[in-house]
Amino acid sequence: MRGRLVHDDTFRRLCRARDFLAGDYQSAIRLEQAAREACLSPFHFHRLFTSTFGETPHDFLTRLRIDRARRLLVSANMSVTDVCMEVGYSSLGSFSLKFRSVVGSSPTDYQREIRRIFGYSAPWRGVLFLPDCFASAFGAWQ
């Protein structure tokens, strides 16, 4: 049996709130504002957002921030501190802890490892999930 779908109107409102959060993900999390976008109470918004999208609003924002941080660390000439500020963390310690918990290594170690493996010419390969079977079959690396 397929999972239940949320009511069409509710889904639209949740998407609107999700887009609202994504539009300014560097800012402090504003659950109440997002809930208002969805015309829901914060409690119901949090519950419905999580059950519909498979992650909490906070986890959604964290994922956006860390994904952006990974790209900046490998492709922009930015220090870890600058990347931390750019993606919306005010504390380098908090950023590093969160980055490590999501990615599995510190921002510094991650940046160093990607550059060691892929060099400075193609560091983006470290952040791009392109299964090698597809890359080989369709000539991505030719």
Partner: protein, 138 residues
């Protein structure tokens, strides 16, 4: 044990047109849009309600496994509607049908009551076709 599918592919002759359709008309979101130095483009999109599933909009092009004559054959088969690429779920088939039609999506069949729910059928600009299903007893 396999737990889930993370990626599936739809073959398209033109990735810009495909992005316009799947993102601009169907409302999906871009997950990755990266072009390699040799021109290969890895373009994936997801329905907003299923962000963990990436649909690869794979260009039909000659490569290590596909010869040029294969390219022409695949394009022809896709154009003929030889492939049903999948089923998309909606909580309101009739409403979504009207919305997508207004955006210019071509439907092969309007909403119709089936034993499993309400179903319409639409196609992308290239011929890949999909069921749009409102499951019964959601």
């Amino acid at each position: 044990m396999i737990q889930r599918m993370s990626h599936t592919a739809i073959f398209v002759p033109d990735q810009d047109q495909a992005k316009d359709f799947y993102v601009g008309k169907l409302g999906f979101e871009v997950k990755t849009d990266a072009t390699m130095p040799n021109g290969f483009r890895w373009l994936t999109v997801s329905p907003k309600g299923q962000p963990e599933l990436e649909i690869i909009l794979m260009k039909i092009a000659a490569g290590p496994k596909i010869q040029q004559e294969d390219v022409d054959s695949i394009k022809e088969l896709v154009g003929k509607g030889a492939f049903g690429a999948g089923v998309f779920d909606t909580a309101d088939c009739r409403k979504t049908y009207e919305e997508l039609k207004a955006r210019g999506v071509e439907f092969l069949a309007p909403p119709k009551e089936e034993f499993y729910g309400v179903q319409a059928v639409f196609r992308d600009p290239f011929g890949n076709w999909f069921s749009l299903t409102e499951p019964k007893n959601q």
